[in-house]
């Protein structure tokens, strides 16, 4: 064996493995939860291909796609939150608060309005629409939060983000209201974080975004570490600050906007997950970035499970469940950072 790992790395490895176990547990429990009770043994049988018609249909047609979507989106939102907090050097940053989700919503409404009636394959392009919406919002935020001399001001970033979020949200609801009642209902449900993607096509549409961008973000851990030290230090350490920041911002936008395209605007997840991760393994990105994704996964999978089971037959959007936990945590953070 090689030399003993540094204590930080050891700890990170331990906590990560712990969370992988928790993730698997929550996925299994989630698979087991639904209107139609299926015993756990049968769930496992079915997963290995020995189920009957009912259990196969329920698991593979109804539950599994939805759970995979929450898994992927949870990872995406957790990681994008971690990136954004580093880039803005603000622990309150989150793709929802920064207005990226509102931008994504705008993109989605355009999709729903003009392309929803197209055939099923068109769903593959949904993340693309939300991504461009998100980029549009990010562009506004960066332009407005930029100071001519000091670069992007972290405090202003959040404030501008909130304003952009409100603005885009209003435009989206207005547009959807003018269109027709169904679109309006869809948009308003989406804005509170309703996991509406239920089919394999939505899983496939989300998969490449998370599978490509998450490892990329992890590979950029060193850059993120340096960037979170502040621009002057980062420049001094030889990082191409502006360029790297832009690329990472686009990565974060891609991760979050692709995620919310099928899960609805899940707020606070990108805020809470990185925080918990940082508390558990410290502020080094190579350690806490993957953990942040895992925590995001656990929270979103469980939130969606609670939302669709506890209040049955009326389901509560996962975003509401996350917010019910996330909002008090957010207030606690605000009080503490004073």
């Amino acid at each position: 064996m090689k030399k003993a790992m540094p204590p930080d790395a050891k700890r990170a490895a331990f906590v990560s493995i712990l969370f992988i176990v928790i993730s698997i547990a929550s996925i299994l429990i989630s698979l087991n939860t639904g209107t139609l009770p299926i015993p756990p043994v049968k769930v496992i049988q079915t997963l290995f291909g020995y189920g009957d018609f009912t259990s196969t249909t329920v698991l593979f047609d109804y539950r599994l796609p939805r759970i995979l979507i929450t898994i992927l989106a949870g990872i995406g939102l957790g990681i994008s939150g971690a990136i954004l907090q580093g880039l803005s050097r603000n622990p309150l940053a989150d793709s929802g608060i920064l207005g990226l989700h509102a931008g994504a919503a705008f993109g989605l409404i355009i999709y729903v309005t003009y392309f929803h009636s197209l055939n099923e394959k068109a769903s593959l392009f949904i993340p693309l629409f939300t991504f461009f919406g998100g980029v549009l919002a990010a562009l506004f935020i960066v332009l407005l939060a930029k100071d001519r001399f000091k670069g992007i001001l972290p405090i202003r970033l959040i404030l501008v983000g909130i304003a952009i979020s409100a603005g885009f949200g209003a435009v989206t609801l207005f547009l959807s209201l003018r269109l027709n009642e169904d679109t309006y209902l869809f948009a308003s449900r989406w804005l509170v974080g309703n996991v509406w993607g239920r089919d394999w096509i939505h899983v496939i549409s989300l998969l490449p975004w998370i599978f490509i961008l998450s490892p990329y973000a992890w590979l950029q851990s060193k850059t993120l570490n340096v960037l979170s030290l502040g621009d002057s230090v980062a420049t001094g350490l030889g990082a191409a600050v502006q360029k790297k920041r832009l690329i990472l911002l686009v990565t974060a936008v891609g991760l979050s906007c692709a995620s919310v395209s099928v899960t609805g605007s899940i707020g606070f997840l990108g805020l809470v997950a990185p925080h918990l991760a940082r508390r558990l393994v410290g502020p080094m990105y190579q350690y806490f970035l993957p953990l942040s994704g895992l925590i995001g996964l656990v929270i979103l999978v469980l939130a969606d499970m609670i939302g669709r089971s506890v209040f049955a037959p009326n389901s509560v959007p996962a975003g509401v469940v996350v917010a019910a936990i996330g909002a008090p945590y957010f207030l606690y953070l605000l009080a503490k950072t004073k």
Binding site: V15, L18, I22, A25, S26, I29, N32, T33, G34, T35, L36, P37, I38, P39, P40, T54, T57, V58, D61, Y62, E120, D182, L185, L276, R279, L280, V298, L302, M305, A312, P313, N314, S315
Partner: protein
């Protein structure tokens, strides 16, 4: 401190997780407990088709609920006590549907859309376009499917008989060829119903009232159009049917409207030909819905 936090967190999570698991095993009753009732073990994915089925004496084993109400419609609720709620029509609970093991699924084309294969996997699907024809056509189509054509005919005949009676009462009250309109007061807007379902066929086809000026201009593919109070006099209606939403804000909005000079100046108000009707059953365009609405209309116009 960090270690402690981590340990506590994992303990809490484990507790939560194991608690969830337990609940599940408790619920695991063998599925398919319900006995198969011959021919009537059907699932309805439209509240209106549910009520058509009820009109034929078939209680669906499962039915979707009204989207806003999150429950069955009030005028049929007591007939659906043993019916499983399948969630709102726009997002039906597939697992509950599958658990019913229905022998047939009735659905509205509007909501079925692209996902019809999903339902076909569970049971044969009968799709209805509710915008095509009247509820009589839907009822007869269902009657054919469940072998109760005679009941369907009888129900329609019964309805036509009552309609004739009510038509007479209305003519007596309002005079021949009187113009009518139906409006709905909600908290945020005032709507006028067009000639499409739910109100159009009932008032203008069945009861033979003449659409007030402008009612025909409402897009025939839309149930209603939003108007402003100021244009109400332009409709020049002899009679106005007013649907007021159940919530307090809508009731307040209606009260305000009643006190406005425009409202007071309307011909229908001056002649006391304004009829406030409940949203259900009047907006439930189905066999039962229209039948109960007709019963209510009979009451309203015999009182005069």
């Amino acid at each position: 401190m960090k270690t402690k936090f981590g340990i506590i967190l994992s303990i809490v999570l484990l507790l939560v997780l194991s608690a969830c698991g337990q609940n599940n095993t408790d619920d695991s009753k063998p599925p398919g407990e319900k006995k198969n009732r011959k021919n009537t073990n059907v699932a309805s994915l439209s509240i209106h088709l549910t009520n058509d089925l009820l009109a034929l004496g078939i209680t669906p084993a499962g039915s979707v609920v009204g989207g806003g109400l999150k429950d069955f419609l009030p005028h049929v609720k007591d007939q659906l006590i043993n019916t499983k709620k399948l969630g709102p029509a726009a997002d039906p609970d597939m697992e509950a549907l599958l658990a019913l093991k229905p022998s047939a699924i009735y659905m509205d084309e509007e909501y079925g859309g692209k996902d019809i294969d999903k339902f076909k996997k569970i049971a044969p699907v009968h799709v209805f376009n509710l915008d095509e024809g009247t509820w009589r056509d839907h009822l007869k189509k269902i009657g054919k499917l469940v072998d109760r054509e005679k009941q369907a005919e009888e129900f329609v005949e019964d309805y036509e008989k009552e309609t004739k009676e009510v038509k007479g009462l209305i003519e007596h009250e309002l005079g021949k060829n009187s113009k009518a309109m139906a409006i709905r007061v909600t908290a945020k807007e005032l709507r006028v119903f067009g000639t499409a379902r739910p109100m159009g066929p009932l008032l203008f086809d069945d009861l033979g009232l003449i659409p007030a000026n402008g009612v025909k201009k409402v897009d025939a593919n839309q149930p209603y159009q939003v108007i402003s109070q100021e244009v109400l006099p332009d409709f020049d209606a002899d009679a106005i049917f007013v649907v007021v939403n159940q919530d307090d804000q809508s009731k307040t909005a209606f009260k305000q409207m009643e006190n406005s000079p425009i409202w007071k100046g309307l011909k229908a108000i001056k002649n006391k030909h304004v009829y406030v009707i409940p949203d259900q059953p009047w907006l439930d365009y189905s066999a039962i819905g229209n039948k109960i609405a007709m019963d209510q209309a009979k009451k309203i116009f015999s009182k005069q």
